[in-house]
């Protein structure tokens, strides 16, 4: 499925946010603390490939997406887009590249300017990048709406966002992303705010775009969706990728104890399909104070002594059926 050179290569990405100290601690010169949102994440997305970054809230998946989009500045690591390092580019140098990588946000009720008609929303990227004459632009907008499944486009083009349903709004957001003909699409929880009956339509649309050659980085908390639509899945926990591999392998043959637990608690559609959920105690710890060694060891059901000191790297899984299946656990 991966064709040739990857579109996006992320290597050793680190993003931290400083924790506000307050006046007393600033005067006391308390050490500045950081939220370790992303701590050494590496992955690639090829053309025509969909990679799903899966994890619970606070695992750093959204920060990863924002760093890739250069909305947040990283602290270390490299981001290469079509072979070119973009983490060092200035705001101005980045502008032409912004045309080629687009982001879709989670909440279609928030991501469209309420004062804009559909036409203005979809045309805005063209205006920003001064592309085409006004007649060209109108045509491009119509084409993008059709591509996003809003047919006939005339029915939608003069509407305001509040006149559309959630699914239609998300399609408008996708049309606005497609109008610049990007190579890479970052989709941050594209369906989690939508009704079940329209989710599949949006996901099928993204799937169709992937088939037409777009690289898609999908951020999601929903393993079922990822299993269905992504080519590869990367499971994140506390700023790290703990397991990565072809979607089917990760879901059917999970190796990392966190992945195993996560998969066991996903409710199944079939009431008879009652797998004993392996419920972990507590919740993801605060990413300000990351546990030593393997960051999962305090909640890990199979942790051994050395897990408290050894920070495992992603490496090939012995029991794997695919060479690309990797996990970060000393026991696999």
């Amino acid at each position: 499925m991966t064709g040739g050179e990857p579109l996006l290569e992320v290597d050793g990405l680190v993003t931290r946010y400083p924790v506000p100290r307050g006046i007393v601690r600033t005067l006391a010169r308390a050490p500045r603390e950081h939220v370790h949102a992303v701590e050494g994440v590496s992955f690639t997305v090829g053309p025509g490939e969909m990679l799903a970054l899966v994890g619970e809230s606070g695992c750093g998946k959204t920060t990863t997406a924002q760093t890739v989009m250069r909305m947040v500045t990283e602290d270390a690591g490299s981001i290469r887009f079509r072979g070119r390092e973009i983490s060092t580019l200035s705001h101005r140098g980045l502008r032409p590249l912004r045309r080629e990588m687009q982001i879709i946000y989670q909440d279609p009720y928030e991501s469209l300017d309420p004062r804009f008609r559909v036409r203005d929303t979809v045309m805005e990227p063209l205006r920003i990048h001064s592309i085409g004459s006004s007649a060209d632009r109108e045509q491009k907008v119509l084409d993008a709406l059709v591509r996003a499944g809003l047919t006939p486009p005339d029915l939608y083009i003069d509407r305001f966002a509040h006149e559309l349903s959630g699914g239609q709004r998300q399609r408008v957001a996708i049309a606005a992303a497609l109008v610049l003909e990007p190579k890479l699409l970052v989709a941050d929880e594209p369906v989690s705010m939508l009704d079940v009956s329209v989710r599949a339509g949006i996901l099928a649309l993204l799937d169709g775009l992937r088939r037409s050659g777009l690289g898609i980085l999908m951020i999601t908390h929903d393993l079922s969706t990822a299993a269905h639509f992504a080519d590869r899945i990367a499971v994140m926990y506390l700023g790290r990728i703990v397991e990565e591999g072809p979607a089917k392998d990760v879901v059917r043959n999970p190796q990392h104890p966190y992945t195993k637990a996560l998969i066991s608690v996903v409710p199944k559609r079939d009431p008879r399909d009652t797998m004993k959920p392996q419920i972990l105690k507590g919740e993801t710890p605060n990413p300000v104070h990351v546990p030593s060694g393997c960051r999962f060891h305090p909640r890990c059901p199979v942790a051994v002594e050395s897990c408290t000191s050894v920070d495992p790297e992603l490496r090939r899984v012995k029991a794997a059926t695919s060479p690309e299946h990797r996990a970060a656990c000393i026991l696999v």
Partner: protein, 327 residues
């Protein structure tokens, strides 16, 4: 079944005034019942009337609402005289965990004090005995009683949701109404909360109505479910039957639109949008989106028909010969 029926809802309607003489018919005559200790799922998409339904059971509707129908609790019609007959049962017999309740705690009061507040307001207990009860309730939902003196920000999202459940249990209700109790939570925390709700209903003999848009959650937690569409019940039955032998195309299509972790079948969306509820419609409300609609669906409103004991569906396809069921 009949002797154990705790709650019976008959022909419940809810209208909202929209101003300018317009009305929104949010709940359009739904009927279902709930046995003691039973977990019933109320499933549907946003705007289908599921939350309005349980707010009506609690007698908690805004002033723009008007209600008709009967809600029998142990045979007594608690909606007969409106507020006058609901008030004695609210929290005492029927309690509710509101949607987003975990984010509705007052940040400057301790969690314990906030759980004790309804008990004091209802004159059940106060002072020292109320705090003892609070600790007991917290232990019941899996939080150490010593944390009663903590503030909401010291609790994680999952713990606040547990505390919200504890608050609903304060007056020993018989029926717990849970509105999307796990929607904003992570899968792992969701699993913890669902495990807690199942344990509570098993241990306390509590009946529960779980309102959610998430079919797999209902499939795993509830024995029976009612699928709502456009203010009506499309189908009610045991969850196993709904999954394996749905008799309403909406139920079938909703399952097909839900991706399953291991399922290989294509995930299919349902085209179109639900009808507007501020105008009357003829025929089956689902007909415009249905893949099996035929001529009769446009003109004639289907009634709920019993397929098997305990399994009802409102679809004309069930009237057709047995050889061609609605799937």
């Amino acid at each position: 079944m009949t002797d154990r029926r705790l709650l019976q809802v008959e022909e419940l309607h809810v209208w909202f005034e929209l101003g300018h003489g317009r009305e929104l018919h949010a709940v359009q005559g739904i009927s279902f019942d709930l046995a003691e200790g039973e977990r019933l799922g109320l499933v549907g998409e946003s705007g289908c009337g599921k939350t309005t339904t349980i707010l009506a059971l609690m007698g908690l509707l805004p002033g723009s609402a008007s209600v008709s129908g009967r809600v029998l609790l142990n045979g007594e019609d608690i909606l007969a005289e409106g507020e006058a007959t609901v008030a004695p049962h609210r929290w005492h017999d029927v309690a509710m965990v509101f949607q987003g309740a975990m984010n509705a705690f007052n940040p400057v009061k301790t969690v314990g004090a906030q759980i004790a507040e309804p008990m004091e307001l209802h004159g059940i207990s106060s002072g020292r005995s109320a705090m003892a009860r609070v600790r007991e309730l917290l232990e019941m939902v899996g939080i150490s009683g010593s944390r009663a003196g903590r503030y909401p920000h010291e609790f994680s999202g999952g713990m606040r949701q547990r505390a919200a459940i504890a608050m609903a249990l304060a007056c020993d209700p018989k029926v717990l109404l849970a509105d999307e109790p796990t929607t904003a939570l992570d899968v792992m925390v969701q699993a913890q909360i669902l495990e807690l709700l199942v344990a509570l209903t098993n241990d306390l003999g509590l009946a529960m109505i779980l309102v959610t848009h998430d079919l797999p959650v209902v499939a795993q937690v509830c024995g029976r479910a009612a699928v709502m569409y456009a203010g009506e019940i499309a189908e009610t039955g045991p969850t196993q039957t709904l999954y394996h032998d749905p008799r309403h195309p909406y139920t079938r299509m909703l399952f097909a639109a839900t991706p399953d972790l291991y399922g290989d079948d294509a995930v299919l969306s349902i085209p179109g949008v639900p009808p507007r509820l501020d105008r009357e419609f003829e025929g089956c409300p689902f007909a415009p989106r249905c893949d099996s609609a035929f001529s009769r669906c446009a003109g004639e409103h289907p009634r709920l028909r019993e397929i098997d004991p305990g399994h009802v569906a409102a679809c004309h396809l069930n009237d057709v010969a047995v050889g061609a069921p609605a799937r």
